[in-house]
Symmetry: none
Subunit: 214 residues, 4 copies
DNA sequence: CGATAATCGAGACGGTACGTCAGGTCTTGGC
DNA sequence: GCCAAGACCTGACGTACCGTCTCGATTATCG
């Protein structure tokens, strides 16, 4: 579901579309989103400016499409691993998320989008719908599965629970209050899980809390 | 510690400085940061552009200074309330934080800054140092006080604990994954506190958990 | 042969070109070349600055084009009158030249150009090629015709002879060593012609010298 | 008679004055008058801008003063050589004049002044009064001396006669209609003198015209 | 199959803002 | 008390891009 205007897509030049997205991605990566210009993209893509304006409403929308490809399969039918060990599974996923944010290719693009959505509501909706939402939904599903397995409290607000995992990560990354690195996942997951476990004193699901180590 | 270039500050015109910051704030509020221009500020402030360029390196830096005044007393010797009830105190503070983010005056400015720091590292450092840092430090101090009162686990990573509170709030606000409203604080605080309490099952310090849950 | 940069002239907007030249001429005439600005021209012409910079390299080049129209027909296939009376013909032409220099419309423009060519070699070449050169060439042709009629010495350096006529006029006009007025032509022409006549003492071609002086 | 404003010159700093004129001359010579700025002069002279504005009304006036020194002795009590041979004397002087115009040091300054006087009437008057006038007056005196010796016609308009010599030279130099070089003097002087000699058929003063060769 | 209409590249156009330069005036602090 | 230093407001510079708008020259269905 790329950000496209409506007109008859049949006539659209696939060559041009690809050239534009490729140029947008390359230019963003090697000079940063701030220096990215429509004219620059057009020139690099060997395309008229009008061709860009015909199909995309804004610079942000192009970048969105340009980088969507990188994560798009993930976005489609995303599912978290389910080994039965909720802590391990979350750690795996969050480490991956962090590594993705640290990868310069994604870093540039995601920061650009994070920046743009402060202004562009439509883009924000698209970003949530295509990337952030699916990821969070998948996480919720995994939490729900753990919940059904009695590992998490029954009364959990899954949305909020999910944000407990992603919030601190994006907080560091977006606001730069502290350096982000994958070990954050290792500290974060067990800590948050303490809040999510069933309230019963016996708390059998968590092996560690019971006997101290594991 | 505003963002300034080199020239002799002794000769600086206080009149011009104030006019610029006022104009920048007013313009940001009624047309948004995206439409804010240096020329517009200069015109509105009755000031030459050069006077702006002489003292500020970027549009973001001006807005930073312009809005710093709004929160700057808070930033200086910020301290969280300490009624002995950590949950109530945190709820109070986080509600205030959320309300501030929802206040259009701050919303415009903070989004602008959040957007700019994705690109401008220097500005990011200043933002953390002048606003975000002090707020988080104060929060850490309050958590530490609760820790000393035996209400929180002794082994806590206070930095991470703090991020557990602020992360989800900023996550919603910046990434727009869900609407932000003050009731988030009410759900968030008790949930996170479950993760932070001492590991002893009886957890006597928290009156609510003792007789409320079990 | 106006002064143009490289871009594809086929796409050039005739409307814009005309508006620019008209604005340049009008502004020069009513505020003087010194106060003329590119921005002023663009504004008066209802044109983007870039459109000016796209087609002209300098303010001088615009004024050159703007005023070329005034004299351009003359420049094309200029020919001096040839009544057979070289003295009368030159007097006619030089009076006209002087009157043109005194006409405020031309005065402003020509002084501007005279000023600019001290710095701008390219403009100087264009000025000579389009205006001064043709005028002098036509004068040379008329002198040559008189030469063939035996009214002037056979061995004349026509270039130098021509400069004998124009030099003193421009000297007064440019350096302001003395006020310029059309009667200068009446004194100048017969005096210079004395230098140009055939060396034979009897000098029959000049009716006046024959029966007037002696 | 340099171009100064009126205020009490007693307080004037001679050091500053000299530094300013020297800086103006140096800067003009090595970057051209067009790039010369008041700020540049002030900086190079180690002087406040106000000190310049206090004593000179315009950039042209500074350059005028700065270069006046070069020719000022000449301007004061200028006298042409008088060997009795008017042709030789004029040739000598005009060659010198041409060489001076070709000397880069003077070329830069004189072109600057020639350019400025198109706009600045006051400067024009000063230039004529201090440099061009004296030179022409001296030339007139020499012509008058030749006249008294019977070498030139009695009825001559000396002003016009003088312009016959200088006009062509400055015409080439200012309007760049032809390259200027010292041999111009050799061709110019005898030709113009033909126009100035007494009208008597015997014309004894000119040896050459009489016997054909010399 | 050839017409015919939308799309394509190219880039000129009217604009807005940029960041810089210099002008001429005004203020300050040190000598 | 003068003067270097330089901040100030002003105005113009020349450049970069914006988003819109022609231009032919391909396409690529559809009559």
């Amino acid at each position: 579901m790329p950000l496209r205007k409506l007109p008859d897509e049949a006539r659209r030049s696939e060559r041009a579309r690809r050239a534009i997205l490729t140029a947008a991605r390359d230019l963003t990566l090697d000079q940063g989103y701030a220096r990215l210009t429509i004219e620059g993209i057009a020139a690099a893509a060997g395309v008229g400016k009008q061709t860009i304006y015909r199909w995309w409403p804004s610079k942000g929308a192009i970048v969105f499409d340009a980088f969507l490809a990188l994560s798009q399969d993930a976005a489609g039918n995303l599912e978290l691993p389910d080994t039965g060990d909720i802590e391990a599974d979350l750690r795996t996923v969050l480490r991956e998320t962090i590594l993705e944010l640290l990868d310069p290719r994604h870093d540039a693009a995601f920061r650009a989008l994070a920046s743009e959505i402060q202004t562009d509501r439509k883009l924000a909706d698209n970003l949530v719908q295509a990337l952030l939402g699916p990821q969070m939904e998948a996480t919720k599903r995994r939490l729900q599965s753990a919940q059904r397995a009695g590992q998490l409290a029954r009364s959990l607000d899954l949305q909020l629970a999910t944000e407990l995992f992603y919030g601190p990560i994006f907080h560091r990354w977006l606001l730069r209050t502290a350096p982000l690195d994958p070990t954050l996942a290792d500290a974060l997951v067990p800590l948050v899980l303490r809040a999510l476990r069933p309230k019963s004193a016996k708390s059998p699901p968590d092996p560690r809390e019971r006997d101290g180590t594991r």
